[in-house]
Every structure is written in C-alpha cells, then in structure tokens.
C-alpha cells in the first residue's frame, strides 16, 4: 500500500466496516446467550444451533432446498455445456441474438422472471411445487453456467479434437477422452456456483413454491417471530460457512480449469 492519501485510507477503513458490519454480527448473535437480538452480549452458547435440529419444518425446507439446488445446478450445467460448446465451436445462424437471450436473466429483475412464470403456470393449471421452483432457478443459473463453461471451451485448443479424430478415435471417444476431462474443472465450478445461487435465492422461490418451501422461504416465514430470531441467526451462520466453502471450491476449480486448458500452448525454448 504505497503512499495512499490519508483521506482515502480513512475512507477505505470506514467503508470496510460498513461492508462487514452485517456479516460480523451474524456469528456474534448466533452464539449469543440471549433471546433478544441486541447489545450488550450475554455469553457464549451453542443452544440455538442445537435447537435447529429439532425444527421439523426447517429440516423439510432444508431437504427441499437440497433437491432444488442439486437439480437446478445439474440441469443448468447440462444446458450450459450445450450452449457453451455451440458458441465456442460453431458459427450458426442467429448466434448473437440467441446467446444474448440466454444471458438475459442476468439483467432481468428476479421478480419479473418469477411473476411471468407464475402467470403461465397458473394459466396452465399446473400446481406449484418443488419442480416449478427448479424451473425458475435453472433460468437464472444458466447464464452463469454458460459464462463459466464458455470460458473453459474457448480456452481449449480447437485442434485437440481434430488430433483425436486423426488418431483414430470416434467423436464419442473424443468427447470422453479429451473434451470432458479438459472442461471438467469448469463443470464442477458451474455445479457449485449453481447450487449456491439456488440455495440462496428467495424471490422466485417465494412466488413459485407451493407447500414445499425452500430454506430462504422458511427463513422469511420465521422473521416475524422474535423468539425464532436467534435460531435464524444460527442458521444464517451455518449457511455462511457452507457458502464460503462451496464458493472457495468453485473458485479453485475455475482457476484450475483455466490453468489446465490454457497451458500447453506455444513455448519457444531451446530443446
């Protein structure tokens, strides 16, 4: 940090406090031995965490979130592979508009996505359940999957596939022996990020869930009861740690993907 002006450094300090304030308070109150979320702190306890295990509705919501998260991330990754491969390898009619449309959910407010899906489902008389939530989540996870996988496919030398064919492999063998191993880190990254996005998503789940709430919807329902709040803090803390782990893993695999596939191109040295 060479020579930053005083006022800037002070600003950065205050800004960091601003950024971290809500987050740091979470563990603080999760372990706080008091039913009221306020200062002063009253002592250390695990009881809120223990209490979580007993909440049956929480466990149901957790199960739902897992189903939704895994399904949405798998589906969006599959779609992402198809779209990314098409975009990276082929130039096809309408490529730009099609790809832009696939990335559209990134800039649409989630409420628009949720509401419009709700309209269609209601008109068609389809019951709202876990599957309707999954559909909505796949829509918003897809752009992320496509972005990650596009980068992975683009980094891959186009001629590797031709080399494989030239050496006698079929297209199918080429996919499993060359393409898949090389985009695997990108795949994993896409799965992890998709799962994390879905786990955290509230609005679409709120609109499209019937009687099977996801975790965020469950949390929302608990927020109006002061007695439930410390438990919510504890839950939030667990989710924070989980997200941290998943996102770090996702980042690790994304970096690995870039390194593996990107390296190996021309190095001009003697030998």
């Amino acid at each position: 940090m060479t020579g930053a002006p005083r006022y800037l450094t002070i600003f950065v300090g205050v800004y960091l406090v601003f950024l971290y304030a809500p987050v740091l308070l979470l563990p603080l109150f999760a372990f706080n031995d008091s039913a009221v979320i306020a200062f002063p702190l009253k002592g250390f306890t695990f009881r809120w965490f223990e209490g979580l295990a007993g909440e049956s509705t929480l466990l149901v919501a957790l199960k739902n979130s897992l189903i939704v998260g895994i399904s949405a991330s798998v589906l969006s990754t599959c779609f992402g592979v198809l779209a990314a491969r098409a975009a990276a390898r082929y130039d096809f009619l309408g490529k730009k508009p099609i790809m832009s449309f696939l990335m559209l959910p990134l800039v649409l407010p989630e409420i628009i996505v949720g509401v419009s899906l709700l309209i269609v489902l209601v008109q068609l008389g389809i019951e709202l359940n876990v599957w309707t939530v999954i559909l909505g989540h796949v829509l918003i996870c897809m752009p992320f999957s496509i972005a990650i996988l596009l980068s992975a496919f683009n980094n891959m030398d186009k001629f590797l596939e031709e080399a494989s064919l030239d050496l006698g492999a079929t297209r199918r063998e080429t996919f499993f022996r060359v393409i898949l191993p090389l985009v695997m880190p990108g795949l994993i990254s896409s799965l992890l990020i998709g799962f994390t996005l879905s786990l955290d998503e509230f609005i679409i789940a709120f609109f499209l869930t019937g009687t099977e709430p996801t975790l965020p919807v469950y949390i929302w329902s608990q927020l109006r009861f002061p007695s439930k709040l410390p438990g919510v803090m504890a839950l939030g803390f667990i989710m924070l740690v989980l997200s941290l782990i998943l996102l770090t893993l996702g980042e690790y695999y994304r970096k690995k993907s870039a390194a593996l596939v990107g390296s190996g191109s021309s190095e001009i040295r003697n030998g």
Partner: protein, 288 residues
C-alpha cells in the same frame, strides 16, 4: 442463403436447441404471456379476455401506483448513485494502491456477500432498529440521548441497505475499468503540468466510464424490482413497486393489473437505461 444452413450452422443449432428451447418456453413465452395478461382485466373472480388498456390506465393514473412507481424510480436512482459514488474510491484504492495484494483485496470485498441476501437485509434491520446495534452503541458512547428513528422503516433504510448489497457489483466493474488505464498516460499528463485533480477529470474518469456505466446498469435495472429490502426495512414509507405487484398477485387477486405494473416498470427502466447509455456515449465522444 445457402451458407446459413451449412453443416457448421446445423451442428451449432442442434446443440443450442436444448437450452434455447428451454428459455423460449420458460422465459420468452411467460414474458409474452405476462404482456398479454396485462391487456386483460380481472372482474372479481372472472378473467375478461378482451384486450384493453384499462390496467395501464390505472397503473399510470392512480395516485398510489404513480407514487410507488416514482418512489421506486427515485430509490433506484439514489441507490445507484450512492453505491457507485461510494464504490469508486474503494475500487480506485485497490487498483492504484493495492500493489501485489489486489486479488486479496477483491476477495476480501466479496466475502460479506456470501451470506444470504435475505439475512443481510435482515441484519440491517437489526442494526438500524430502535433498540438496534447502532442506536445502542451511539447511546452507550453518549453521542445521542434518544434513539434515532429516521434510520429505519423508511426509504432511507432501503437506500442504505441496497447500497450495501450492491457494493461488490459496483466495485468490480469499476475496478476492471481502472485496471485497464495505462498508467503511463497519467505520468505523461503529470509531466505536461496537470494537477492531480485535472488528471483525474481528464484521464481517469473518462477512461473509467465504461466500468461506471456497467456498474450503474447492473445496479439500476434490478433494483426497481427489489422486493425483500422495502418489505423488511421500508416500513410503509419505503415500499416499492415490487411489493405492490406481489400484492396484486396474491391478496388483491388482480394478476392482470400486477402484470401491467410489471411491464410498465420494465418499460420505464429500459428507457432510462437507454437514455443513460446514449448520453454517456456522447459524453465520451466529446472527451476524445
């Protein structure tokens, strides 16, 4: 015409058919459906399918909806301004003074945002409340006698919470733009006699503009449709259009009106965003 259906084109289209078909079915079709619905009217329990502008008339003339729409716009603009203005020095700091630890700084910036969005906004409620963290701390420090009330359950709280929530989405694009600035340009300018302020206005700011524009659009467009923040910390004075849309779809049972409100909101946002990009391009052109 012949080349459009080359082997390559067919292969590409075959691959992208799956995801695109899915999007068409679940995004394009519903959006169109929403558009269509907005032209129908709800008569208590019956859905009148004759096309009419009735919902739009109501959305644009009824004082409550106008007020909500205006407030949502104002809040969005305020949030965008605050977030970007506060984020810029942070991004500047990391880019110009971060040295070898730039990625570490970026990592640090993003950690707070790995918590659930829902919980983060809720924490602001805890912080800004009557007996909340901020008030109790300030009272304990004897800065104030009575708890502050203007900080929660109104538009201020919404702006503050959202300025927090969007921070990394502003810092990152601005950072990327700042990184791209060739440092030798600034050195040359200093060589030619520009002061630090002049260098900032004439070089740094225009070159960082793409990042600023990107950040602004990323924040402005989705903020209009935010539901959680106004509901949790907005009280009655801070409610936004998304809350009303949700009401129309549930308690008020007037989905067509809800749809019209949603479409109107998107239209306004789209136009403002387009204007913004347009004027920004002119600004940049005049600079070069």
């Amino acid at each position: 015409m012949k080349d459009w259906f080359t082997r390559e084109s067919r292969s590409g289209l075959k691959l992208v058919a799956g995801p695109f078909g899915f999007s068409l079915l679940l995004l394009a079709a519903p959006l169109l459906m929403m558009l269509l619905l907005s032209f129908w009217t709800q008569n208590y329990l019956d859905l009148d399918r004759t096309l009419s502008f009735a919902n739009y008339e109501e959305a644009w003339t009824h004082p409550v909806y106008r007020m909500l729409m205006q407030r949502s716009l104002v809040i969005s603009i305020l949030v965008t301004l605050c977030t970007v203005i506060l984020a810029f020095p942070m991004a500047y700091f990391i880019s110009f003074y971060g040295g070898k630890r730039k990625s570490l700084w970026l990592f640090l910036i993003t950690i707070p945002f790995w918590t659930s969005y829902l919980l983060r906004i809720f924490m602001w409620k805890i912080i800004l409340g009557y007996n909340g963290v901020l008030n109790s701390t300030l009272q304990w420090l004897s800065v104030i006698e009575e708890p502050l009330t203007f900080i929660l359950y109104n538009a201020n709280a919404v702006v503050l919470s959202l300025a927090h929530a969007w921070a990394p989405f502003a810092i990152l694009p601005i950072f990327v733009s700042l990184e791209k600035i060739d440092r030798s340009l600034l050195e040359a300018a200093r060589d030619l006699g520009d002061t630090a302020f002049q260098r900032f206005i004439r070089i740094t700011l225009p070159l960082a503009m793409p990042g600023i524009v990107a950040a602004s659009l990323i924040i402005f467009i989705p903020t209009i449709g935010d539901y959680i923040t106004p509901k949790l910390v907005g009280g009655t004075d801070g409610l936004m259009i998304a809350n009303m849309i949700q009401v129309q779809f549930s308690k008020a049972n007037n989905a067509p009106l809800g749809a019209a409100l949603a479409v109107s909101a998107m239209l306004i946002v789209g136009m403002i965003a387009a204007c913004f990009v347009f004027f920004n391009r002119r600004y940049l052109r005049s600079q070069s």
